[in-house]
């Protein structure tokens, strides 16, 4: 080793003195993170252009009771705080009950309150961007709830699964209605969220309950299908808009038999809102909608015909028509009559 190298080694050894530094304070790390996200949210609000819609009379009156009419957004009345106040006035009891409901699962007593508070948050916002963020958040929630149930050995109900799908589809619907630049931004967000959720379900081990395996497979397939739509939409937003409009025309009216007003579109399970009717699509008798969860298979096997969005041969890997789709699930779940019954469903 030359003198030069030896001296350089000595310099490098001295630099190594800087390796050992005291660890970061956890409290300061948390504060720093919170401030960063707060700044990001503030910027996000100024970057997006919310649609301004004049509220109707009763909404305006209700909002005016609880929302500052000043131009500046009041930090004193957050949307959740507003919900708590409204719930307390309408239903009595403490707003803390509503707050406590936010972490409940479908098998718990306060879950209905959680869904109602979500619905209220959607109603009380007129901004498409905010609605999108809410639907993304609610899709995350349904995803986490289903995973928690499965990990606990409980079978998520058809209703819970359908709600999850509804939130996912709402995000696509909202994105497709936005101007192109906003739509692309929105779809990038949706893609990230769906990938997160897809990864979580890929990592999920449903061994505790055999029926959960079928649920997980259906959800994976649902996510894959919607991810594919997002990818197509990113390449061509106009196509997504056309797809969502066509998809919407085939939807039933919102199913309110469970008290939740979130529309239940073509369900993952083939069961409309848990009514227990099995078999084919009850609203469009005849040919099931490919990928709609009705009829044999979820589309990647069973050969129910070509891609409805394009006439002619199915798109390879589209999960329509015969042959393997993008998911490795061997066969789609068959809707079984009375699937809503039996077992421990939540």
């Amino acid at each position: 080793m030359s003198l030069n190298d030896r001296v350089n080694d000595e310099v490098v050894k001295k630099l190594a003195a800087l390796h050992q530094v005291s660890p970061r304070s956890p409290e300061k790390a948390v504060i720093g993170r919170a401030e960063f996200l707060k700044e990001a949210q503030s910027i996000a609000r100024t970057v997006s252009k919310p649609e301004e819609r004049r509220p109707n009379r009763w909404m305006g009156a209700l909002q005016s009771l609880f929302v500052n009419s000043r131009k500046e957004h009041s930090p004193m009345v957050s949307p959740l705080a507003m919900i708590l106040i409204v719930m307390s006035l309408l239903f009595g009891g403490s707003g803390l009950t509503v707050a406590g409901a936010q972490s409940s699962l479908p098998d718990q007593p306060l879950y209905g309150l959680k869904l109602l508070s979500e619905e209220a948050r959607l109603i009380l916002t007129s901004s498409a961007e905010t609605k999108l963020q809410l639907q993304l958040e609610f899709a995350d929630r349904r995803s986490s709830e289903i995973q928690n149930l499965i990990e606990g050995g409980l079978l998520p109900s058809d209703l819970t699964q359908n709600r999850y799908q509804a939130h996912v589809e709402q995000t696509l619907q909202l994105a497709s209605d936005m101007p192109e630049e906003q739509a692309i931004q929105a779809m990038e967000q949706i893609r990230l969220r769906l990938r997160h959720q897809q990864q979580a379900f890929l990592n999920l081990n449903p061994n505790t309950n055999p029926q959960c395996g079928a649920v997980v497979a259906r959800i994976r397939q649902m996510l894959q299908q919607h991810l594919q739509w997002v990818e197509e939409g990113l390449a061509d937003p106009v196509r997504l808009r056309a797809r969502m409009r066509q998809h919407l025309w085939q939807q039933p009216q919102p199913d309110t038999n469970d008290g939740a007003t979130i529309p239940s579109p073509v369900s993952i399970t083939g069961m409309p809102g848990g009514s227990g009717m099995g078999g084919g699509n009850p609203w469009t008798p005849g040919t099931p909608t490919p990928g709609g969860g009705y009829g044999p298979g979820m589309g990647n096997s069973g050969g129910m015909g070509g891609n409805p969005w394009t006439e002619g041969t199915p798109t390879p890997g589209s999960s329509y028509g015969p042959g393997p789709g993008p998911m490795t699930t061997q066969s789609g779940p068959q809707p079984t009559p009375g699937m809503g019954g039996g077992g421990n469903h939540h």
Partner: protein, 192 residues
């Protein structure tokens, strides 16, 4: 385990997806804090550096700018520039010579004091390098980055990075040997 790569995180960040931005902060803020603390020697200043780095990142995103890739390199570049500005604005702190050691484990405390002094001396030497020399030598020998990653951070070719590294080590050798000789002389005078 990181599920998504930098490209996905950046796409989410540009869309102001909160989860992506939170992931970015969680992934990169610890490394940035350590880097800043090593160069500044003060935890409050290191926190300021991290905070300002991410704030500038958000400002770039808001203006439609920011990195298309190499996010870590981009963030470290911002932190480095902030630290360089701080060096220019503030004089270097004096190296403390704590002669009055409080009671307790004398040996352990003395070792701690010696380590702190050594760190301060290294920081002093680093401050006298050019900003690029300093960033190269710290990323290479303190943060253990490879040359390619450093090239991305400085937006320079690998050859230029190696040249900077060579000149930085030469400069540090002169500075540290000069300092070492000076302290040796001081000890000699004290003993007489």
């Amino acid at each position: 385990m990181k599920t998504f790569n930098e490209i996905d995180l950046l796409a989410g960040a540009r869309a102001f997806d909160m989860r992506s931005l939170a992931d970015i902060y969680d992934n990169y803020s610890p490394g940035l804090y350590s880097y800043a603390l090593r160069l500044l020697g003060d935890d409050c200043q290191a926190e300021d550096c991290v905070s300002e780095t991410f704030s500038r990142f958000l400002a770039a995103l808001r203006n439609g700018k920011g990195p298309q890739d190499h996010l870590q390199a981009y963030l470290f570049r911002i932190a480095h520039n902030w630290i360089t500005d701080r060096y220019r604005r503030e004089p270097p702190p004096p190296v403390e010579l704590d002669e009055n050691v409080p009671g307790g484990d004398h040996v352990k405390t003395e070792a701690h004091v010696e380590r702190r002094q050594e760190q301060e001396q290294v920081r002093l030497a680093l401050r006298q390098l050019t900003p690029d020399q300093r960033q190269v030598v710290v990323l290479r020998f303190v943060e253990d980055w490879d040359t390619q990653a450093i090239a991305e951070a400085l937006i320079r070719p690998v050859g230029a990075i190696k040249a900077l590294q060579h000149r930085a080590l030469e400069a540090l050798r002169r500075l540290m040997l000069t300092e070492k000789n000076s302290r040796a002389k001081d000890r000699l005078y004290e003993s007489e």
